[in-house]
């Protein structure tokens, strides 16, 4: 009986060690992964949200922008996700391929254009990173649709698949 309990204890102990190894490995990998997500929300030490250079929009505001002529939607997710499905009319500028993709497209986007950037959901950092890069390139009317693709899909708003 005692041997059985000791055996079980050893098995559980190794399970905990395996879990801890996976936990540390995964968090380190995430820190190095260009598609990694933020572990913590964007708050400073005082608990106040950091000032962002772009405007965050919710589903109502984003729909109004979608129906407005001339507003450009930028999909910051990976090219693979974009090809699977995306907001109808959106162009793809993935965070990890920003420079190459922006080179191809920047001639088509007027410097004073209103641009809405989105990624998968509020937990992906890509939309914010692409928005910041666009602002560095001189674009000033940038909106970030935080809830992104996930919410757009749930609201059954227009989408498009590229075959």
């Amino acid at each position: 009986m005692e041997t059985n309990l000791r055996g079980l204890f050893r098995v559980v102990l190794f399970s905990v060690r395996i879990f801890l190894f996976c936990f540390i490995f995964a968090t380190v990998f995430n820190a190095l992964n260009p598609n990694g997500v933020a572990l913590f929300s964007q708050h400073n030490a005082e608990g106040v949200e950091e000032k962002e250079p772009f405007i965050r929009v919710d589903s109502n505001h984003v729909q109004a922008l979608y129906n407005k002529v001339g507003v450009i939607f930028v999909d910051a997710r990976s090219k693979k996700d974009y090809l699977k499905n995306h907001i109808k009319g959106a162009i793809s500028i993935p965070k990890e391929d920003f420079t190459a993709q922006f080179e191809k497209l920047h001639g088509l986007i007027a410097i004073d254009a209103e641009i809405v950037v989105y990624c998968g959901s509020e937990y992906c950092p890509s939309s914010e990173k692409v928005a910041r890069r666009l602002m560095k390139e001189g674009y000033s009317k940038i909106y970030v649709y935080g809830n992104g693709w996930n919410e757009w899909l749930m609201l059954k708003l227009p989408t498009e698949v590229i075959n």
């Binding site: 395996i18 996976c22 968090t27 996930n150």
Partner: protein
């Protein structure tokens, strides 16, 4: 090798492969798995990014270790805990009428919604894991003690 041992080896490799394949699509793209976890509406929002980061790697590494038959008993304990929590989450959401993506085998481009089939499949996997656990050895621990 008896038929029981042969069956255990076969099921061990199959179960390991299931976890490796179901997790491999999410290893490099935690934002995708975070969307799926969000849709389950069970985990507090603050914990979702952490879970999205750790869960695929936990499944992947445990799957590899199970195939390689390294610390199988401890690995199976982790996989059983995961399978019980997946089955509980899917059952809970079905009971409260939620319909959303399962996030199970997207590597094969299967867009599966949670259903009773998901629950039954998970129960079968739990039974397989229990069968394996009963005959598994923690190879490295026992070698060390001998």
């Amino acid at each position: 090798m008896s038929w029981r041992e042969k069956a255990r080896t076969l099921f061990r490799i199959i179960l390991g492969l299931i976890f490796v394949l179901s997790s491999s699509d999410n290893l490099f793209n935690p934002s995708h798995i975070s969307e799926i976890i969000t849709a389950y509406s069970i985990i507090p929002a603050r914990l979702i990014p952490l879970m999205a980061i750790v869960l695929p790697w936990l499944e992947f590494i445990c799957g590899i270790m199970l195939i390689a038959n390294v610390y199988s008993k401890s690995v199976l304990l982790i996989l059983l805990a995961l399978l019980f929590s997946f089955t509980g989450s899917v059952s809970f959401n079905l009971a409260r009428g939620l319909k959303h993506a399962c996030g199970c085998f997207e590597i094969f481009s299967i867009k599966e919604e949670i259903s009773i089939v998901t629950v039954i499949r998970n129960i079968v996997l739990i039974l397989v894991a229990i069968f394996l656990y009963r005959g598994a050895n923690n190879v490295f621990i026992e070698n060390k003690n001998n």
